[in-house]
Subunit: 213 residues, 4 copies
Amino acid sequence: MTAVTEAAEPTGPDGRVLSARGQRTRTRLLEAAEEVFSDLGYHEASIVKITEAAGVAQGTFYLYFASKQDVFEQLVVDLNRRVRRAMSEGAASGGTRTERELGGFAAFFRFTAEHPALYRIIRQAEFVSPASLQLHYDRIAAGYVEALQAAMESGEVDAGDPEVIAWMLMGIGEIVGMRWILWSGHDHVPDDVLAEMSRFITRGLAGPGREHE
Amino acid sequence: MTAVTEAAEPTGPDGRVLSARGQRTRTRLLEAAEEVFSDLGYHEASIVKITEAAGVAQGTFYLYFASKQDVFEQLVVDLNRRVRRAMSEGAASGGTRTERELGGFAAFFRFTAEHPALYRIIRQAEFVSPASLQLHYDRIAAGYVEALQAAMESGEVDAGDPEVIAWMLMGIGEIVGMRWILWSGHDHVPDDVLAEMSRFITRGLAGPGREHE
Amino acid sequence: MTAVTEAAEPTGPDGRVLSARGQRTRTRLLEAAEEVFSDLGYHEASIVKITEAAGVAQGTFYLYFASKQDVFEQLVVDLNRRVRRAMSEGAASGGTRTERELGGFAAFFRFTAEHPALYRIIRQAEFVSPASLQLHYDRIAAGYVEALQAAMESGEVDAGDPEVIAWMLMGIGEIVGMRWILWSGHDHVPDDVLAEMSRFITRGLAGPGREHE
Amino acid sequence: MTAVTEAAEPTGPDGRVLSARGQRTRTRLLEAAEEVFSDLGYHEASIVKITEAAGVAQGTFYLYFASKQDVFEQLVVDLNRRVRRAMSEGAASGGTRTERELGGFAAFFRFTAEHPALYRIIRQAEFVSPASLQLHYDRIAAGYVEALQAAMESGEVDAGDPEVIAWMLMGIGEIVGMRWILWSGHDHVPDDVLAEMSRFITRGLAGPGREHE
DNA sequence: GATGAATGAGTGTTCATTCAT
DNA sequence: GATGAATGAACACTCATTCAT
């Protein structure tokens, strides 16, 4: 997982560093935004709804975010950081490659179940903030790439273009999370689906002891 | 690929069958909607922009569609039907399983390049019309399932849950199309990416002549 | 009751006399208009709804009426003629003044129950067609005035300004019809209410055998 | 005349109590609405016209009223409260029953001349807000009923159904106000009309020193 | 730091009316 | 005589954003 450095000191839209009280208000707003965006989508969400959910006045919003699009982007960055942390922690616990692989997916699915906002918000980003959309996928892909390169070097995985494989794995995770978590309303992907995924991916990546062209 | 038959006779929102002139106007509006939605997204698109693009008056729109959401849904159905037809035609030409598989993907990517609206519109459907969103994916998945079942019966593909595999293939197609067509602005996926995809999927599905657990 | 002569030959908006078929269509439209205006009020009513109720196409409407306001006015004239005929017939049957008086009111209430459109439409006329509104009341008042003058001459009713008395009687009829027919949904005014009305009016008009200032 | 107590604290549509500034704006809007509704009627009136007349922006309207219908209803309540206060004050000054009676009517006619909106708005209420319409009449009738009951107990007026009599008096007031104030454009009902009204009502109610059945 | 009243451009939708067929 | 597709002006209402307090 790459160590992308993100703004450590949260600031207001004018760049001023926030007081302790200010940080609390900002966090309340960001949490409210996650909830409202997740429930209603970007366009149905309104600043009033967000500020009401956060328990502050309308004007207060603009003390912390430059615009509606600005919260959206900060939220994407925030969710992206958290999902990547969850995935790398999930993967870290495993011993064999397969265990790590499954650990990462499982963590991703867990995060999806707990933060449906991730999906729901990202899908809107296409028109709201294309840059955020790409950044989000690029960063997750980078995590896969890094892991794949290590696995290829150690021979656990057959050589190949890690970039392409990374995106395919991400595509699989995305659609399975959508189909078996978001749509079904469950908080985890059924075991047999996970098993099928695992079998497909393991074969696809091949590795030691296998003969292939 | 299943031949799902949909409403042959296009009607107005009141259910009345359209005259020849009416059909022409409806088509102009639908094409304009595809363009405008694709360029601006659902929310930035407006009825005025659509009717201007179609060269008709605002009121005319409501002779053919009950609401903005209605065109959206009809458009999703329309694009869905066309992409499935393209995919099944692309697959039909192939001889071996691999050829058919690649043919289907290639057709999908070609359609994506020609109709970016498909992606851009579908991603908005989450909040605009969740039902349309599911319908779209379900129908495409159904096509994969059908093909997979046939391949499993003939032994070309190892037994497994065709539903899960179908969705994984769809996820791969989706994300590769997004990454290597929409974002790159190219009209086709580079050959080496296709090759990597093919290798990964072929192995993942396994089949005759392979030894596996 | 004065014999106000109204257009005998119904014509189209261009003044052309109607064929037999045309007359039938016009009548269907007028009846549809009465129903729709009565149910929805002038503004909620639309030409489409009227033509649908009449079973003709939209354009046909303008073959018989110059505008929406035009049907409205023709309808007021029509209802006014009918209610006055009903009232004078109701009054004609009575022998004594009181009987005739009650007969007229009873007929008015009956008409109200059968044609709620009368009330509902008239009340909208204030802004739609003030002239129609005045015409309606003036014509009904004229009927009362005529009857009162005759009764004054014969000594059945004390002398007084028949114009003022006519309007008061009309006001009583109006509000009682509204309160005890329209609002209650009954098809007749309860007997005790009628009795109280009768007592009040009889005294108010006074007449032979009474001493007054 | 009953002292019906209504909401003392004016609130916005969300129920929040208004600041001093807010109250001023609300009043400006309500006055503008009275004027515009009165001039143009409910349907021809538009929010733009009202806000322009009030000198505020369109959006401001919705800070104080939930909808066009909402202002309408609040205006009816407001006018109703004011006309009843005027009537009870007009009646309070009189000594004998007849004086009080005439005082009440005179006050009603004065209010009518000053606030034509009362009539013009109420007549539209039939379809805009039937509940407001009934409330308006019911409350005024209640005032008459109370006065009549007192007069009956003291023997000034013959026993009878006060409800029915109240509505008849209201009907008389309504139509006379319409005919001799609104339509004539005068600011008062001519004395001879008032005298005729008085004579008719006095007899109708009868009372001491009269012989009747 | 926080408030919330005010703004005004912008949207989806309706509907009386016209006119080529 | 009848049709119904097309028009386009008009309207109620929303909401991101500003700013005086």
